[in-house]
Amino acid sequence: MTINPDAKMPETQSGTEVYSFDPLVVKSHYEIDYIHSYAQDSEFFRALGKKKLMGSKCKKCGYTYATPRGHCMMCGSETEWYQLPNEGRIHTFTTCYFGSEEFLPETPFNLIMVEFDGVDSLFMARLIGADLEDMKIGMKVRAKFRRNQKISPTDVYFVPI
């Protein structure tokens, strides 16, 4: 038998940060690690480690994507991997002076959409080695790859030619 009317929750030294008493506003912390699978897109990330940029091509209608895509949005058929050219052109661009908290320390950074000859869709990436004033639509850019892969789409980035 464990009936004990004198039972007491143990007290600890840890506390709660209070920002305001009226209304009562406190700090609430949250953190988590995910076990994230790239699943059918895995090959794209593995290929970046071999300095290859892989797109998708529809086996049936031949539509070509500059992004990994298991099935074709035009006809619903399965796609196959194919290697994209290393050189393309700026389709559009911006420089971000602010950003999400995770990327704030990297600001300012350039974002571009890349178009490749003979490819039906675009690719989004970072551009380094150029300032806002230097970037122009139609400007030729080349893909470069990180030596130490982070297994992230930023393992590929572009520089002006």
Binding site: A66, H91, T92, T94, Y97, S100, L122, I137
Partner: protein, 420 residues
Amino acid sequence: MKHKGHNVYMVSGGVTKFAKATPEMDFRLRVKKAFDYALNDANISLGDIDGSVASYFSDHFQRQLMSGIMVQDYLGLTPKPSKRVEGGGATGGLAFQTGAEEIASGRMDVCAVYGFETMSHVNTWKGNEFIALASDTNFDYPVGGFYTGYYAMMAVRHMHEFGTTVEQLAKVSIKNHGNAIHNPYAQSPAKLTIDDVRNSPMVAYPLTRLDVCTMSDGAAVAILASEEKAFELSDNPVLVKSIGTGTDTMRLADRPLGKVTLLPNEKESDYRNLQYPGVHSFRAGRTAAREAYEGAGITDPLEELDVIELHDAYTSSEIQTYEDLGLCKYGEGGAFIDEGKSELNGKVAVNPSGGLLASGHPVGASGIMQGVFMFWQLQHTIKKHFKDDALQVKNAKRGLIHSHAGTGTYVTATIMEAVK
């Protein structure tokens, strides 16, 4: 397209004043205030409500799943039917349409659509991170993870394609912040100049701080009803004439470079060399407009619409949306604002409330807020609710509300008509 169902009317609405942070109220109380305003305004009792639709975007902001049922519970609507509808920035527009479907199907006679968002629990940059999780987290988020960056790239392409200028973007900001001066519910009314807009901090070129909407706490409620019930509850209901919804690819990179989706007042030869939608235009917006116009019998939107509340999270997207909605042809959006056609007293008043830019953008509430402001415009009761009739669009008979999710993935267009 398909069976239209029963007629749907809006019979009442309520909105809280949008603000950067309102820690003295949680989301349940905020919705309750908007809900009670709506009930009181039309003498509707809790017992008249058959069910509801909950509209909120992100579970991250509050770190509370099932916020919808907490509101349902707080409002005293349990055990009646309810569901949550979510689709990014278009959440409010989608929820409003879902409410209309509940009535059109005959399932409910009176449906409450409530929207809310509490964005003040995290700082602005963490908030941007949460919002950016609505972009593809394998391919887009890790590269830049910032919606203003994505829209900035679209704006740059629109400028390249059509010659749109940063001054034209600024004019949208001036118009919407200026309209909001007369809207007591708005978060950031302001009298601005082009220099004010261009000299405010650059967020992502070409968009400055004043080209971009803010984070907000807020709630909005729309009460929809069947024809029989609408005229029983109100002597001045507003008809929800038709709805339209469109979608587009998650990744901007995947947008096709094909042919323009034409409206009845356009022909293929208008766009000989335009690759569409690319990243300069919103195919989902055009698709939504086309369905809504078809349902309402609209063939010349500029002539047949008197007032529009559209999703201007960015000044550039307002200009892009003029074109998607067919108020002008693709490429003429910049001239449309230059010519003053979207001003309060212009050809068609666009965002007389101040839009998201100046009213604020508590995501799940925004699309419902547009519905409420449109309802008051078409009822001709702006003076009653705003205590100021400066924003009342004269002779407003027919309006369109437009809600839009990140980079144009989900877009809704809903046509509303005065009946009185």
